[in-house]
């Protein structure tokens, strides 16, 4: 039996929870309470951490969607199979970022936002670190203590974390266009949309394996976030959420288009398809909005339709794909897109447009209030 110090054991337990080897409930007290964690890891603990991450991260990536038989593009060719069948196994590199993050998670009282020390890391996150950031946010979210993570620049600068957890991140502050850039904070004036796209570019170019594996997980999160919109009462919250979504989708689509990886937007189609399947009313998105000035509520109602709006872009891609003939080079890729598009289809798109029209009408905010009142009145 290998022996480690108590603080090392705590850190290893958090690492095991990240990769699904122990349940979130087992580490919840660890995450919520402050703990003393040493500044160094001993060789035994480091060895165990390496082993946990090496085995666990790959398994977790598969559990979250890598196991699914899916079709994706590889050099403009359609490859089908499970994640490990479609491409060479990726080399998941973990740097000191992961170790520092684990130490911070184990030491900080995440339930007491004000008492958490800021997380300081050196160097840029590697492929494995990016996955750990995603898993760490998920774990904290499940333990209802993700607020300190939502304000930490390391998480806020990860394109993958934004895609998965835009809701708690936007609750803290909407997506500032420069957050995903490499520039230090405070250079807001110099930040631009191009920088946001650069962060997504890296995700799509060098870390596409994560996006491929997490498609189902991302779709699930987007569906849940859309369904929770109906509970939002404050227009400002909805505006922050919708505007963050809009910025994310815009940047993602631009990058996917540039790198010929439109197939990676499949999670948006999966989410859209599930949401539109039963032809919901617009009030499902805005039933909670009942207070505030009309001008603000109207902005909020429009922001609520951010995902529906983004389907328009994906619909245009589907139209382009329909025009590709069977002897064209990108015929297979186009057919893959059309197959993905079937989740929405013409009827789903028509319904999405109808919803958008209602959300943009002059009396949209008043209708939202009526919906809220009808929910209260039995």
């Amino acid at each position: 039996m290998k022996r480690v110090a108590q603080s090392e054991f705590d850190l290893l337990t958090v690492a095991r929870a990240l990769v699904g080897q122990v349940g979130a409930e087992a580490v919840e007290p660890l995450l919520r309470q402050p703990r003393a964690v040493g500044s160094k890891l001993g060789p035994t603990a480091m060895g165990l951490l390496k082993r946990t991450l090496a085995k666990g991260a790959v398994l977790e990536l598969c559990r979250r969607g890598g196991w699914r038989l899916a079709a994706h593009l590889e050099e403009m060719e359609v490859v089908t199979g499970r994640l490990w069948q479609r491409r060479q196994p990726p080399e998941l590199r973990f740097s000191s970022v992961t170790v520092e993050l684990l130490r911070w998670l184990a030491a900080s009282p995440l339930a007491m936002d004000a008492e958490c020390q800021p997380l300081k890391v050196k160097g840029r996150p590697q492929l494995g670190d990016e996955l750990v950031l995603y898993l760490a946010f998920d774990l904290a979210d499940r333990c209802c203590c993700c607020a300190p993570l939502a304000r930490t620049p390391l998480f806020r600068s990860s394109a993958l974390v934004w895609l998965g957890f835009f809701e708690p991140l936007a609750r803290h502050a909407p997506l500032w266009i420069g957050e995903l850039s490499e520039r230090p904070a405070g250079s807001a004036a110099a930040a631009s949309r191009a920088e946001l796209e650069r962060a997504f570019g890296q995700l799509v170019r060098e870390r596409a394996v994560l996006l491929e594996a997490l498609q189902a997980d991302l779709a699930r999160r987007w569906i849940a976030a859309e369904r929770r919109k109906g509970e939002l009462a404050q227009p400002a919250q909805m505006i922050a959420l919708g505007e963050s979504q809009r910025a994310l989708v815009k940047a993602l689509c631009a990058v996917l288009d540039r790198h010929a990886r439109r197939d990676l937007a499949g999670f948006l189609l999966e989410a859209g398809g599930a949401l539109l399947r039963h032809r919901p009313e617009a009030s499902r998105w805005v039933a909670g909005l009942a207070t505030g000035a009309l001008a603000e509520r109207q902005r909020a109602v429009r922001a609520a339709g951010a995902l529906l709006e983004s389907l328009g872009q994906l619909g245009r891609w589907a139209e382009e794909a329909q025009g590709v003939r069977f002897f064209d080079d990108d015929y297979e890729a186009s057919q893959l897109l059309l197959k993905q598009w079937e989740r929405i289809g013409a009827q789903g798109m028509a319904h999405a447009q109808e919803l958008m029209q209602r959300m943009q009408a002059l009396d949209a905010a008043v209708s939202a209030q009526d919906a809220a009142q009808s929910e209260v009145t039995p």
């Binding site: 000035a293 009309l294 001008a295 109207q298 029209q357 943009q360 009408a361 002059l362 009396d363 949209a364 905010a365 008043v366 209030q369």
Partner: protein, 188 residues
């Protein structure tokens, strides 16, 4: 023996407050004819509803003060309602101090507290005014949406007739006022 000194202050806050609320949307006109012509047809319909043209914008101010503006080129609609009033709030405050030498200081502190209360009351009254304004606008919007939709439908029907006349000889036009449908038979 110490004595208690009673201090009283009275403050008045006079403020002119203006609250405003409004919404924006856009009218969707089918591009049946060139944009300029579609704008003219829409303008004609809106003028029937009491709008007045000012260049590329038509505007109407209703009796209750609601201002509706439509930009003819883009179809952007702005509905705005503003209200202003003069607030005059009075408040008295009193307190006790045991130190006569610090009376001035205690009075200043009490006055500051009373002023803060007045500021809070003014903010609450302003918010109440804004809520009344919003309610008034809400009642208005539904009818206005129907009114503008009607104008757009009539402008579209007029454009259809013009387009049909350009295509050939119109033989028959039948309109259903209830459903808003228009059927035009054209001999080409």
């Amino acid at each position: 023996m110490s004595r208690a000194y009673r201090i009283s202050v009275a403050e008045t806050l006079r403020r002119h407050v203006r609250v405003e609320d409004g919404v924006q949307s856009s009218l969707e006109l089918l591009p049946l004819l060139p944009a300029g012509r579609m704008a003219e047809l829409l303008c004609a319909e809106l003028e029937q509803l009491g709008f007045e043209r000012e260049g590329q914008v038509v505007r109407r101010v209703d009796e209750d003060g609601t201002e509706v503006t439509v930009e003819l080129e883009t179809g952007a609609v702005t509905v705005r309602l503003a209200s202003e009033t003069d607030l005059e709030l009075h408040r008295k405050g009193s307190g006790v101090t045991g130190d006569r030498g610090r009376m001035a200081e205690a009075t200043a502190a009490l006055r500051a507290r009373v002023r803060q209360d007045l500021e809070r009351q003014a903010a609450a009254e302003q918010e109440q005014l804004r809520e009344q304004l919003t309610e008034q606008l809400e009642r208005k919007l539904r009818d206005l949406q129907l009114e503008l939709d009607g104008a757009v439908n009539r402008a579209t029907a007029a454009a259809l007739k013009e387009k049909a006349a350009q295509l050939g000889e119109i033989e028959e036009i039948s309109e259903d006022a209830e459903s808003g449908s228009v059927t035009i038979r054209v001999r080409l």
